[in-house]
């Protein structure tokens, strides 16, 4: 494996600046790594649904030309990136992991993609995901699962398993993900990478194929906290095309990460969420969590326990709001204008309605159909108040719990996920068990607050990565970077290097 793929994005920024490497060289190094380890749906990591070697190299060459001419577009100019397949990209297929969008090439770029392109980051390709971001394992991709670089028999988390696995297996230094109930943070936890869900409205959603509009947020997927901050500052900020985006500049995140890396948290108040522990939480996860909390205390933070009593209802509310919004969002996939079109069998001159029905039947997977049915039911007249209306009330209660907690503490912490990566297929037939994996990540989406997952070590019983989650009040994204970077620095000092250096070598995995 080339040394170049082992470096962090911040290190690559320096290497490019000093002229040690060119963007073409390091883009090629990552493309070589993809060819060596990513494999196919049947073997290897399978993080990518589409690799754009030609496009990435052309963007890299353009970046090198800019640099030679002294016109660098951005600090990250020339550093390659992978993009979750739920974000629209001109010239590259965007499938959302669904058959119904097979082969669809969007005529426009998502705002975050446009910003990445304008900054000169070569796009390596589009990463695998659960169909329409519905899932916690990437097994619901219509194009086959992604495998966890720590153990190829295990799931890489979801829905953004592709982006997390690509970064964890050194196929990309940076990736973009989306987080509706934990789809950035939970894959980060189970692959030993860093993932951030920004404050709702902090990053434009224009061009993000919506799962649940009121919960979705685009965020960075990286191997270090600093890299996430760099990428977050690049893609964040107001976008007139997204009316829910916040009209104020994003900033101070890189600075917060650098400050946190000094390991000094004197004066910081940290709250442990009492409700996010107990039965069903893997002992190895809780052990690593407790160690990390102890490190924060050693760094000068004051740690207290905080109760958020409404969090026990978060899962129920989430699984009403999400399907309700999704059922409406997914109505547009009707075979009339784009995507898969299936003609019903045995019908001579099918009506538009019959074509819609046949196409949606073939084009959507079971999990998607399950949620469309739940959402349609929850919004139906006579049920709306009991389901969608109640869920919105729970949402308000959760926001109040957060507000009350943040009167006492600066940040809240919990394990990111209750368990380490489970085996492929293990929970496929048990949707509820699958849903429980997002228990700790969902409240942040319901309340719109930012959260980060950073690697906290390996669980004793299975040797698999554990994630540590830090949550902060809305618009205080800098706090999760500060605390995340501090913990990262303290843990790496303890480990003698990054957690991912302990991951198995994957050479030959693609075969």
């Amino acid at each position: 494996m080339s040394d170049l793929t082992r470096r962090t994005a911040a290190q690559l920024v320096d290497a490019l600046a000093t002229g040690e490497v060119t963007s073409v060289e390091l883009t090629q190094a990552h493309l070589d790594r993809i060819a060596a380890v990513d494999g196919t749906a049947d073997a290897g990591i399978h993080a990518f649904l589409h690799v754009d070697a030609e496009g990435a190299l052309a963007q890299a060459a353009a970046s090198d030309e800019r640099r030679a001419a002294g016109r660098v577009a951005h600090a990250l100019d020339g550093v390659p990136i992978a993009v979750k397949d739920v974000l629209t990209t001109t010239g590259l297929p965007t499938t959302c992991g669904s058959k119904i969008l097979e082969g669809w090439v969007p005529p426009y770029d998502a705002t975050v993609v446009a910003r990445v392109k304008a900054a000169g980051l070569p796009i390596l390709g589009k990463t695998n995901m659960d169909e329409f971001a519905m899932g916690s394992s990437t097994e619901h991709s219509a194009y086959g699962p992604t495998r966890n670089p720590w153990d190829l028999d295990r799931i890489p988390g979801g829905s953004g398993g592709g982006s997390a696995a690509a970064v964890a297996s050194f196929q990309a230094p940076l990736a973009l993900g989306t987080d509706t109930g934990g789809s950035i943070r939970q894959p980060g936890a189970v692959t030993g990478t860093v993932g951030v869900k920004p404050t709702y409205g902090g990053v434009s959603r224009y061009g993000l194929v919506a799962l649940a509009n009121s919960l979705d947020q685009v965020g960075p997927v990286t191997r270090t906290v600093l890299d996430s901050a760099l990428l977050h500052e690049l893609v964040g900020g107001h976008d007139p095309l997204d009316s829910t985006s916040i009209d104020r500049p994003v900033g101070g995140l890189v600075e917060a990460a650098r400050q946190g890396a000094t390991g000094d948290l004197t004066g910081l108040k940290v709250g442990i969420i009492s409700e996010l522990a107990g039965d069903g939480w893997q002992p190895g996860v809780m052990t690593r969590f407790a160690e990390s909390v102890a490190l924060l205390e050693q760094a000068g933070a004051e740690v207290v326990e905080v109760s958020c009593p409404s969090f026990v209802h978060a899962m129920a509310a989430y699984y009403l709001i999400l399907p309700a919004e999704a059922s409406s969002n997914l109505a547009k996939f009707d075979a009339m204008r784009y995507g898969l079109r299936v003609l019903p069998e045995g019908v001579d001159a099918p009506s538009a309605e019959q074509v819609m029905r046949a196409s949606r039947d073939v084009g959507f997977g079971d999990e998607v159909k399950r949620r469309i049915i739940i959402g349609t039911y929850a919004l139906s007249s006579g049920y709306y108040d009991a389901y969608y209306g109640q869920a919105q009330k729970v949402r308000t209660l959760i926001s109040r719990d957060f507000a009350a907690a943040y009167e006492k503490v600066d940040v809240l912490v919990s394990p990111t996920a209750p368990t380490t990566a489970f085996r492929l297929g293990e929970k496929l037939d048990d949707p509820l068990a699958m849903y429980l994996n997002d228990l700790a990540t969902i409240p942040a989406n319901l309340a719109g607050v930012p959260g980060i997952s950073v690697p906290a070590g390996l669980a004793d019983e299975d040797g698999l990565p554990v994630g540590f989650q830090v949550l902060a009040p809305a618009l205080a994204d800098d706090r999760v970077y500060r605390v995340g970077a501090a913990l990262e620095a303290l843990l790496e000092e303890k480990w003698g290097g990054a957690l991912l250096t302990q991951a198995p070598e994957l050479d030959g995995a693609a075969r």
Binding site: L87, T88, T94, C96, L101, W104, P106, P107, Y108, A110, R205, Y206, G207, L208, V209, A210, A212, N213, S214, P240, L241, D242, S243, T244, A324, E325, S327, S328, A331, K332, F333, D334, M336, R337, Y338, A349, A352, E353, M356, T376, L379, S380, S381, Y384, Y388
Partner: protein, 503 residues
Amino acid sequence: MSTTELKTFEEALESFDPAMGLEVHVELSTLTKMFCGCPTEFGAEPNTQVCPTCLGLPGAMPAVNAKAVEAAIRIGLALNCEIAEWCRFARKNYFYPDMPKNFQTSQYDEPIAFEGYMDVTVPVEGGEDEIVRVAIERAHMEEDTGKSLHVGGATGRIHGADHSLVDYNRAGIPLIEIVTKPITGMGEKAPAVARAYVAQLRELIIALGVSDARMDQGSIRADVNLSLAPKGAGGLGTRSETKNVNSLRSVERAVRYEMQRHAALLSSGGSVLQETRHWHEDTGITTSGREKSDAEDYRYFPEPDLVPVAPSREWVEELRATLPENPTVKRARLQAEWGFSDLEMRDTVGAGAFGLVEQTIAAGATPTAARKWWLSELARRANEAGVEITALAVTPAEVAAVQGLVDAGTINDKMARQVFDGLLAGEGTPEEIVASRGLALVSDDGALGAAVDNAIAANPDVAQKIRDGKVAAAGALIGSVMKEMRGQADAGRVRELILEKLA
């Protein structure tokens, strides 16, 4: 149901009280669409005014057009409505190929404007105009759908068509839907009230400058809800909803027709089906449309991609200050200024020519002349062409110019009609048409004088009567002169010459 099975209008009124609800959709004339920057111009090549947002492409998001919100508030204020301090858009979910997202972004239980009224001037046959207060339930913002074109069938409807085409240029055009509360107690006046309401609402919209409100182009469309209750029983019966009634006359006819149809059903012990009905302009009847409509569950919920609209009270008051004069007040004021009788005024309004007459007068014509041209000549031509009078290719300024030519003696009324022919045919300005068609009157006294002399010589008896002071007899000589001049003479000047010569 064939027309022979209808009750007569009088029979319907004997046994039933009608209740109406009118829903009027107004397409705003904003430069861009409701939720994206696409242009709204009418008549462009299909599917050329579209973008990811109005095509409903995956990932695209809406952003509210502030000008549309402004127009909605102004309409609300002009209808004496409350303006919401905070309101949201909602998704109305249903599948249809001309709906890009398979939901329409509309407003549901939080309309931008609500609880208003309009005082409608209703003409009463052989009596004084009557003012009826129509209560407005709400006015809300929404987006239009695309337009389906069903090809291969006989009627242009989906049944019998072998394929359909969809034009999404219209998808996302801002609409304001104005809904009345049930209008009851109108009895025989119901059809006239419906018409007068839509006509006056249309005038108001035009006066606000928020839409061109062309019924023939669908930029203002009326849906007529009608139900009958047994006479004196109170309450509301089962309603039918007649969609897209696209002329003022049809609004009146549709109410009348549905009253007669409902009455026939109810009188024979049957019941009215709650359904959508199509209005047929040519035959003047309604037929059953989509059966589901009201039975359908639209699964409304607040649009999560849009933030709430919260117009500040200061802004609302600023907009209130921009409202034009109330049309009812304005009409009374101008009627007095112009010296029109109630009947003349009613005819002017009824022909949809109120604004045209006003602008023609403003362009310099006398009120009498402006009314004469629009109500006789131009109304007839609009009728013949089957278009709204406002859709004629003649402007108020041109009408004033034509009258100016008549006043100057350049042409007479008969020639003026030919000038209108030329204007409608796009032959240029009135002056150009007079020149190109050779319409100028002969004002050369030499030529006229010779013709007058000839007429006097040919009619000595008449000439003697005039010499004896019977000036009225001059008409016969004028006719004779005009004949000789083949109409190209100013009759006023001819009269003067005759009287001079016979003084």
